[in-house]
Symmetry: C2
Subunit: 257 residues, 2 copies
DNA sequence: CGAACAATTGAATCAGGTCAATAGTAGTGG
DNA sequence: CCACTACTATTGACCTGATTCAATTGTTCG
């Protein structure tokens, strides 16, 4: 059961994303190592689907690197990407609503720990650090979903896209002298499904932002934001996200003045 | 600290709602009594606001009866009702995103337990029942928010309203021979804010549903659904909600065949 | 009874969705 | 290395569902 990371998946386009992701972490609480010794380590590839439940048991997943999306499809309805999960985040079988098609899909190459939730509970009872992590992870997730609900329900499409970009910059971005760089972790379709837009509209808005110089494409699927503050100004959720996820060091957060 | 329910708040329009709410409960796990002995019991009145944090401490609220709404207002944005909380549900200070105006408002008269979250954690470490309740309550909430995200992001306005009515019927409805009865727990404005609609649109759709005989107004703010199955058929989330919250006994859930 | 407010409803507008045509971008096999 | 195919993304023209605005009706409460 102990960690045996003899996996070589520095494959494809994975490595860089991983570095970027793990590097900056004023993330509230670290994942207790105790959980690692009970986990099965999974290596994910972009697009790979993970079974949400392991042989009927309630299962927990902890993202170590990369990004995981939870896809939900209600009967007779379009798909919704319910959540993006970044390193440190926790997902449980019970988080997905019953009677809906739910899939956990890796958006980027990365590492995921899988645990039986029963084992996590047992651990939490004896190890206060684990309990704190669980409570903290869950509260952060709910706060995020709350922001996301406000985004879906009350923002117009430009604001929605700006909010996503801020979120990605905060959670997967690297700060370079020229600005913040991050990868779009999914296809236009997936991103549109996360924001409750359709892909055409999303594409239009990205073009609009690009021509307004809010960002530029370093290369395919990679985005460079020169002026983070200008981007943040377009998202009503920016300040909440920064408070929740922490701003990458050196960013214009403080320079908001 | 022990429960001292010497409160007479059978006031106003409260009583009936309360009965309806508490009666049918195939609700997954009951709130452990152990929590009650550490709780401050609050009596709520419709419209009353509760402070989300108690003197800076992380605070937990458990709804015993009535309905609580979490209002969120992102800067420069319209208000969003992030969640409706029914009996058995748990709310924590940490669930509200930082940097946003967050308020906990009672939609109906009822009873709420307030606890320091630290005390809850301590209790959970020694009492497995409490831990189970917490995990369960949190998972249910996230599953609900996931459904809500899909509702906000992917359903049209009729489906949104149908989904809300199903949710209310399941969680606060009473089954009478003529059908299911429940109260609208908030003003049109609040309900619209929950669904990401504007009040005019909501009103139009309610009228449309009424003239399609999907429901009738027994009295002001009270709704009678004769044919629950017909209503459920309009909401893609109906089956998920029924699986999550349990259908009121005698309802056409089983008769879906 | 009348004032303040909540809900309904119609008409005009617009943001975003739909459809369709085009242009990029892998990936594959000669 | 270069076609060739299968996708994914972009963009324009058009259309529709939802919002906005405003006028009206209904409800609550002093």
């Amino acid at each position: 059961m102990a960690l045996s990371l003899k996996i070589e998946d520095t494959a494809q386009a994975g490595s860089r994303a991983v570095y970027g992701v793990t590097k900056h972490g004023p993330a509230p609480i670290d994942v207790p190592a105790a959980l690692g010794s009970h986990a099965t380590v999974l290596r994910t590839r972009r697009g790979q689907a993970l079974a949400l439940a392991q042989q009927g048991d309630e299962t927990a997943f902890i993202v170590r690197s990369g990004v995981l999306m939870l896809h939900i499809t209600l009967p007779d309805s379009a798909r919704q990407v319910a959540a993006l999960n970044f390193p440190g985040d926790l997902i449980r079988t019970g988080f997905a609503p019953p009677c809906a098609k739910a899939t956990l899909v890796a958006a980027a190459a990365g590492e995921v720990w899988r645990l039986r939730f029963g084992a996590v509970e047992t651990l939490a009872a004896s190890d206060l650090g684990v309990m704190r992590y669980l409570d903290e992870a869950v509260a952060r997730r709910i706060a995020h979903q709350t922001i996301h609900a406000a985004t879906l329900g009350r923002l117009d499409s430009e604001q929605k896209v700006a909010t996503l970009l801020v979120e990605l910059a905060l959670r997967t971005g690297r700060c370079l002298p020229q600005g913040v760089v991050f990868d779009l972790p999914a296809s236009r379709k997936d991103i549109a499904d996360y924001l409750g837009l359709n892909p055409d509209t999303l594409s239009r808005i990205m073009s609009r932002f690009r021509s307004a110089s809010l960002f530029s494409h370093a290369e395919r699927n990679r985005i460079l934001v020169r002026d983070f503050a200008a981007l943040a100004a377009r998202s009503p959720a920016a300040s909440s996200l920064m408070a929740l996820d922490g701003a990458p060091p050196g960013l214009s957060t403080d320079a908001s003045a």
